[in-house]
């Protein structure tokens, strides 16, 4: 199973922000962390992470600086801002609401389904 495109797009910003709360990071490491966290279920098109990071930066949710990797390559590091933490908290509230609603709906549906399959049995 792979996570669908729309869901991936919707969850990208909160995931990136959450990963950055673990500390300053850079693009490739963020992608690697996403794979780790999702056991490979979330497969981003890696290149699309950068426009997202820049969008977050324009919105003031992350800050970036240029540094160097261990091997001396130019590398851009990202860090979450206070505004970003606020944004992340808001994401969490919204996702919690969605997940709770889905859970309730699926719980009821499962019950309804089991009831529906049992009834004929009772009637017979």
């Amino acid at each position: 199973m792979k996570v669908g495109k729309d869901l991936m797009a919707a969850s990208a910003a909160p995931l990136v922000l959450a990963i950055l709360t673990e500390g300053e990071s850079y693009g490739y490491a963020i992608v690697r962390r996403v794979r780790e966290l999702s056991d490979g279920e979330i497969e981003w098109t890696d290149g699309l992470l950068y426009p997202l990071l820049h969008r977050l930066e324009d919105g003031g949710h992350v800050r970036s600086r240029w540094g160097a990797s261990d091997t001396g390559r130019k590398r851009r590091y990202y860090e979450i801002t206070d505004a970003g933490r606020g944004e992340l908290a808001e994401h969490r509230r919204q996702w919690a609401a969605v997940v709770a609603a889905l859970r309730t709906a699926w719980g009821d549906a499962a019950e309804a389904a089991s009831v529906a399959t049992m009834r004929p049995g009772v009637a017979l």
């Binding site: 693009g27 490739y28 098109t45 890696d46 290149g47 950068y50 820049h54 240029w66 091997t71 130019k74």
Partner: protein, 456 residues
């Protein structure tokens, strides 16, 4: 890099290295991805290649997988383009744009306003005589035309507040023009003619922002709009001028003197209509100038810097300005040009873009302009006392002060940006916050100075 210290990460063979270079060149050639963004993507690609090689893949395989994972360049470049190039414009268009074209046809509506603006140029002839009262006649024409432009933008934005502001400003401007007892030869009417349009232009800006005049993004867009509108008007004027010249020549060849009709009707109508058409073109054909305007700035900023450097050398060599009357006005105009280049340059850059040679050049330009202004002010300082204050002098000095404050702060902010490698944010904040100052000063000169000097 082909000189690994052996620190970490396996190295790739030269032919794979060449592949990476080719991939990078291909990405750069697209234009949509800025070099810094491309650096970032390359770092990502190399990081992925190293990881894959560490897990046992050959360098060639690792490169192929890494490129695949990074996504097609098309897709990535498109995302970057969406994110960057048209940022604020697009937001505004997406916010308020889509419904406007549907309002009984964007083009017929625009043409209606263009005709109204054309008629507005001749409307003063109902109350004023173009010959005896030329300055007031022009002042009233300009007021009415700008009122129509503001009305057009208010209509485009479907903003009631903007419509009311446009109407009130037009009526107030017209009332002032008619109520003030200007004489055709007065200095104050010329000053009003130069300053009232600036105040009215900010009303145009209010309409442009759809009433959201406090929004920094909207102000910045209005600055861009102003620059692009000027370019469109200049282009239309150039084309119109050629057409008028050819028409006159042909009619003359036919033995008909078309000049009176052309200068009394055709040229004013054309000029009036052009203001609305240009305002419409700036938005409708956004892509056309969006890329030209920054190029123009880049061409003219170095030229202006060179010209200013030459003027400075001349000022030092000759020991400063001699004639003080025209000097201040000339320097004021120069400062306006410099400010225009600064505004255009910063409005074309990404807010987060790193400081570079453009910033150094702009800083040099602004500092040179300030130094020249110091020469001009020094030449005048001695004479203000003995010559007394005239409306012209107050207007010129006030404008100089307005520009001086802006440019001094601009130079300071450029310096800070270059020293700390900061973002463009402080400069953008300063310039957008300063916009109302121009309108306020223009209003003072147009409204308060004439009565203070008894309409001299």
């Amino acid at each position: 890099m082909s000189a690994p210290g052996g620190a970490s990460g396996p190295t790739v063979r030269p032919d794979v290295e060449a592949e990476i270079t080719r991939w990078r060149a291909y990405l750069d050639a697209r234009g949509a991805v800025a070099p810094a963004d491309a650096d970032e993507l390359e770092d990502h690609l190399r990081g992925q290649v190293e990881d894959l090689m560490a897990s046992g893949l050959s360098d060639e395989e690792a490169f192929l997988v890494a490129v695949k994972r990074l996504g097609s360049q098309d897709e990535v470049a498109r995302e970057f383009a969406r994110q960057h190039s048209k940022r604020l414009w697009r937001q505004l268009v997406l916010d308020g744009g889509p419904r406007t074209p549907g309002r009984w046809g964007a083009v017929p509506g625009m043409l209606g306003f263009a005709v109204a603006a054309a008629l507005a140029t001749r409307a003063p002839s109902l109350v004023l005589d173009a010959g005896d009262d030329a300055a007031r006649y022009v002042l009233l024409s300009v007021t009415l035309v700008l009122g129509v432009v503001a009305g057009f933008l208010a209509w485009r934005r479907a903003s009631r507040a903007a419509g009311i502001a446009a109407a009130v400003a037009t009526v107030a401007g017209a009332a002032l023009t008619l109520a003030y007892p200007f004489d055709a030869t007065d200095d104050t009417v010329v000053l009003a003619l130069l300053h009232l349009p600036i105040a009215l232009w900010l009303v145009v800006g209010f309409a442009y922002a759809g009433g959201r005049w406090r929004s920094r993004a909207a102000r910045l867009d209005f600055i861009r709009f102003t620059g692009e509108w000027v370019i469109y008007v200049a282009l239309i004027a150039a084309g119109g001028g050629v057409l008028v010249g050819v028409t006159l020549a042909v009619f003359r060849g036919l033995g008909i003197d078309a000049e009176p009709i052309v200068s009394a009707w055709v040229v004013p109508f054309g000029a009036g209509g052009a203001t609305v058409v240009a305002a419409w073109l700036v938005e409708a054909k956004q892509e056309v100038l969006e890329s030209i305007a920054p190029v123009l700035t880049r061409v003219f900023a170095p030229l202006a810097t060179l010209a200013l450097a030459a003027m400075l050398v001349a000022a030092v060599a000759t020991g400063g300005f001699q004639e003080s009357r025209e000097v201040l006005i000339a320097v004021d105009v120069l400062l306006v040009v410099v400010l225009g280049l600064v505004l255009y340059s910063i409005s074309a850059l990404e807010p987060t873009s790193p400081a570079g040679w453009t910033d150094r050049l702009q800083l040099a330009l602004v500092v040179a302009a300030l130094a020249l202004d110091a020469f001009a002010l020094a030449a005048i300082a001695g004479r203000i006392g003995d010559a007394g204050s005239t409306p012209n002098r107050i207007a010129a000095l006030g404008l100089n002060l307005v520009l001086l404050v802006n440019l001094a702060a601009t130079a300071w902010l450029y310096g800070v940006r270059l020293a700390r490698r900061g973002t463009l944010e402080p400069l953008l904040r300063w310039q957008t916050a300063y916009v109302p100052v121009y309108g306020a000063w223009a209003l003072v000169v147009a409204v308060a100075l004439p009565p203070l000097f008894a309409f001299a």
